[in-house]
Amino acid sequence: MGSLPELLDGFASAITPLNLLFALLGVLLGTAVGVLPGIGPAMTVALLLPVTYVLEPTSALIMFAGIYYGGMYGGSTTSILLNTPGESSSIMTALEGNKMAKAGRGAAALGTAAIGSFVAGTIATLLLALVAPTVVELAIGITPADYFALAVIAFVAVATVLGASPLRGLASLGVGLYLGLVGTDLISGQERFTLGVPQLADGLDVVVVAVALFAVGEALYVASRLRRGPVEVMAMQGRFMTGQDLRRSWAPWLRGTALGFPFGALPAGGAEIPTFLSYAAERKLTKHPEEFGHGAIEGVAGPEAANNAAAAGVLVPLLTLGLPTSATAAILLAAFQGYGIQPGPALLTTEGPLVWTLIASLFIGNTMLLVLNLPLAGVWVKLLRIPRPYLYAGILMFASLGCYAVNADPLDLVILLLLGVLGFFMRRYGWPVAPAVIGLILGPVAENNLRRALAISDGDLGVLVETWFSRIVLLLALVALVGPIVLRVVRGQRPSPSEVGAGAPATGRPQHRSGTDEPAEVGTPRRDGRDD
């Protein structure tokens, strides 16, 4: 556990003025996109990727980490004051938070959300720093077959467990895997799915695909259903947290952290499930059950802590194994690859200073967010007054510019548009985008490991289940895949946390969830595509 000196070194390099500036830029941008529904950290990082290739990797990743954490904070503001969760992981916050705001306790709700996020983010980042070296030690001996098994469970978890419809999730994953296959096969040199287009021999650029699916798809989707009345915004009023609020909040914060971190760290990641669990747990444990449903502060404190802790947890498999379990993590992985760094068990040894600076900057970003968010909540809400045509026109322009800038090849713009249309239809018919992005980025890595394993074993498929590790992991994947179907047959319906989500915020507005971080819509009544 000799990671403390490295962490301190990380702080030393994160506290340089330039890196502090990037962290500040990141948290500001992140909060802004977190506040805006439909635009999330994944989309933002994807849009910024081409711009940041000229930066130092450290600075760029510090900024991305700020965006990642900032998005989690921003979502809570919109949930509480507007009842429109900016992120899918803030849905639970909206349940009680908006009720609190309606009852004139908006300031207390924002307070407990911000402090809870800070407490959870800090504890979880500390856990990340403690756990990461240990996980790396365990992962050093991992075989290609084991790694393939891990990738499989990540695929299955992202596609089936979290989404509302396993079939849609798997279909979306398939789209991503297919797009990841385009290009020259690295081992045999054969061209796959290139349609004879020479530029495609290098494969599709991750930036182009991610920007198309997230940004262009979302922009087209919003344009197709623009005319809706504005939503009601609650004033941030009432007293800031009282002593009693604090006494009622601290335990949910800690419980939320305890739930969020492991769920984020497991390759069944995502921040929604722990927020649901935290909400359910607080509801059971509360001493004020009569307040639940009418603005109970525990119902804001717990889920908010859980989603921030999960955000930090997601970084554990990303930094130690190179395994992304959420859309934003996948884009971060692409960012690493863009700098020629391959996250994996070796990352901590080869790029130690970078990783520790990144972790240190998470602490700094978290503190900045606490300081920024309490006084600035009103300013963030003003962002929502931007007419959406201007906002999305800007995003589209930025998307096209960035995609063209990657290779200076007009063909990329054609691909951007085609995949953007695909992204629109995915959104229109409720296919989650996250599995596609994860498939695109993790797919080639998984394929590489599979082929290496098979090469070592001379084509004997038995190598895939040779170690206990891969046996257990593949079995879990199978359970995750088949379990819901079996349960549905047994119980007549799919067991989703919809009992909890049934009362989810019923704004008459579609839940924009494209940019949202993880495969969205756990248990929320699906609204878009059929509500009008």
């Binding site: 529904p37 809706r228 504005p230 009601e232 809400v381 007054r385 959406r388």
Partner: protein
Amino acid sequence: MGTVVVGYVPTPRGRAALDHAVLESRRRDALLVVVNTSRGDALVDEEFLQGEALRALSQELAASGVAVEVRQPVHGRDVAEELAAVVEETDAELLVIGLRKRSAVGKLLMGSAAQRILLDVDCPILAVKAPPRGP
């Protein structure tokens, strides 16, 4: 019975317009149609009445003793088009609007809703300014 239409926003100028519209409709014994519209293209529009503010307005208007109808069209059109449509539909005898102070440059940049209303709407228009702020 005639109709008086007023464009209302929750600002001092909107307040002034509403007060004059209530007086006018009482004097003319006309139906007062209060129009509060939004283009609906931003997620939040603070000039669009909802919830508590809307209830307060309805109560206040009910207490004023004139026949009142509150409309909140959201069709993605700007306020001039929206008001023109309501005036035409109700065959209004008077439209009351509130004016804001705007510099020449501000008008060049932002355009003027009032100007478009004056040009587009076919009935007599009463333009009211917000009372000057106290010293």
